[in-house]
Assembly symmetry: none
Amino acid sequence: MPESNSSVAPAKPATARGQRTRNKLLDAAEQVFGIQGYDRASIVEITQLAGVAQGTFYVYFESKKSIFIELVETLGTNLRATLREAVAGIDTRLEVERVGLEAFLQFISSHEHMYKIVRQCEFVDEEVYRAYYTRMAAGYVAGLKGAMKRGEFRKLNPEAVAYALMGIFDFVGMRWILWEGKKPPKRIFDDVFALVAYGLTPDEDPRRGK
Amino acid sequence: MPESNSSVAPAKPATARGQRTRNKLLDAAEQVFGIQGYDRASIVEITQLAGVAQGTFYVYFESKKSIFIELVETLGTNLRATLREAVAGIDTRLEVERVGLEAFLQFISSHEHMYKIVRQCEFVDEEVYRAYYTRMAAGYVAGLKGAMKRGEFRKLNPEAVAYALMGIFDFVGMRWILWEGKKPPKRIFDDVFALVAYGLTPDEDPRRGK
Amino acid sequence: MPESNSSVAPAKPATARGQRTRNKLLDAAEQVFGIQGYDRASIVEITQLAGVAQGTFYVYFESKKSIFIELVETLGTNLRATLREAVAGIDTRLEVERVGLEAFLQFISSHEHMYKIVRQCEFVDEEVYRAYYTRMAAGYVAGLKGAMKRGEFRKLNPEAVAYALMGIFDFVGMRWILWEGKKPPKRIFDDVFALVAYGLTPDEDPRRGK
Amino acid sequence: MPESNSSVAPAKPATARGQRTRNKLLDAAEQVFGIQGYDRASIVEITQLAGVAQGTFYVYFESKKSIFIELVETLGTNLRATLREAVAGIDTRLEVERVGLEAFLQFISSHEHMYKIVRQCEFVDEEVYRAYYTRMAAGYVAGLKGAMKRGEFRKLNPEAVAYALMGIFDFVGMRWILWEGKKPPKRIFDDVFALVAYGLTPDEDPRRGK
DNA sequence: CATGAATGAGATTTCATTCAT
DNA sequence: AATGAATGAAATCTCATTCAT
């Protein structure tokens, strides 16, 4: 596996046609990485699925690794944006959590490969992998701090809570969406959320429960 | 002269010397798979670390995949046994959870590679990967059902709760043990556990909290 | 990072340069398989003789086996075509046999490796091996039937005769061309042919003998 | 494939037990070489089929090649002896041929692997391979010369005839016994023999035909 | 006599990447 | 911008053979 040495870093495409080709490659890569995993995925397969020649790949991407990382980062950015938009305008934090969970499950339902892609990233570039969760956690922490200060949530270490919540969402998503192939039934969703709600809101909070 | 008929499935070693060699290989494999991940790990590296010749590997294991799977299954079995022993004799379920979390974090602290190994398994053999969590979940579910029946825990779907708890433990372990390199500070541990405790125990339960 | 999904079946070369490379490989393979036999032949040796890099082989052929089979089938097709052309226009069947034997010996004289290649095929792909002789026999049978119906040849089971003739030619070719390195002297050729002629033509046939 | 260097050439077994083990290995080797061919056959497989440990092989045989050659030579010797015995006491040469063909087909019927073993030999040790046919041919030549001198057979080059006959027998054996799995039907046998008979015996010979 | 552990050379195959066109 | 031929390093796996017990 020669490490690129000379060769200029590919520039962004200048023409619309170039832009299109680049996107075809990204889409194909999402499929292939999602199904085969990073190491088993091959550039040939990606280019074939994209319908271009092998050499074309290196017109747009520096390496296999670089397209993978771009993919992970794009997915992360999109997921966070989706969540932000989903909860915009909601005024109780607990409701934010409910809608957030809902939106998260929805997002991974329609990006079936994202799970595997993100997880593979741990082995491809640890830094990028951590950044993915670190940024996600940062978003949570901000929201949680506010809710704790306002007394909506118990006063607990916000980072601990953030990772706990991400863990719950991740595993529930894996169990039902990845393995079952569909979003969890309402009964499961409600119970997961109840656990979260009781865990987060102070006993005396009248709004608690649903 | 390859293109063989799958040759001969390696038998268990007949002598103590053989047993020793096999173990050296397993130990080396745990290191190498843990550091490099399945695909990047190479048999050469494993045998070098084990201090045997390359061909010796195939005296004891059928393939790279087979030693990996043996490793994952052994780790799973050991972890479950450790947890079982840790909580034996404890009579309140909440305390079981606390001790269980403690033991889990302890276990992965001393098997630093287990995390990555288990996660890689998703890409190596999906069935084995699912079995790992399915069995773990089954253990939880049994305990949770009892606690719910006795009124110690809220009545929620036990499988949902099992995966939620595994998710919490997994992510907290990742964040502190994997990334930080040490067990989470008491403050974090307590807050994670508080979240779980409030989430699980009914409001009126006098034993709740710590 | 092997353990792939059979990757991509090599397409026919798109450029003249590619076609040239593919042919160089086929030529080299004929030499190497002919001298070493299938199993002892190695891809390295073939590519070295062809003057290309090892990986280039797999640009044009799926596997060692596939190039070998292509070789056998090509040889069979060429031999049959050569025989067909050699006897075209000849009107007595006995003369056809004489010219055919001549042409056969000539063909293997100038394809010194063909013998060993075809024989190895029995161990590489039995079906291809049988097809080689089955097709050859079919050609014979057609001609023999006609000659028998016209009374030129004795009425004998045509398939039996076809295999007997192929056996004679094969063994005579082996004894003189393969082992001696040159075509059998006239005296041998004539006696072999006499045996065939007397065996095939009815006693009263005035044209019999030479 | 290391070539043996030191290590003493294995002596013939001293005990009856040793003799038994050696024979078990030879029998197993006949099976394995016959089914897999020389190169694909492995010592492990032979020893497993023989029910002994891998190392035991080298107590009795110097190498893979040496057991193979012993096998070929034994088969050749046995075949020739069988033919000799079958035709002993027969006084017309044509009848000798008929009975010889019969006996040949019978022999290979009951040594199903012999065909492939002998053919593989061409690629293992050319000298042994030629000796196999050379000796067989020598037997024929002797008999043919006599028959020709006595006027029983046409005067043709005896070696040419010998190889032609061996070719016929070989190919007929291949077509019916190897491929069909049973001896050729009487009709085929008779026609093959008729071809031979008419080819060999002078026209005026009153005994000709059947 | 017999065993089974150990070796290491060698074989096929894959694939990211480069480059001339 | 796009192509497809070519490369060569590296990976997994096989197996004849040796050796200590």
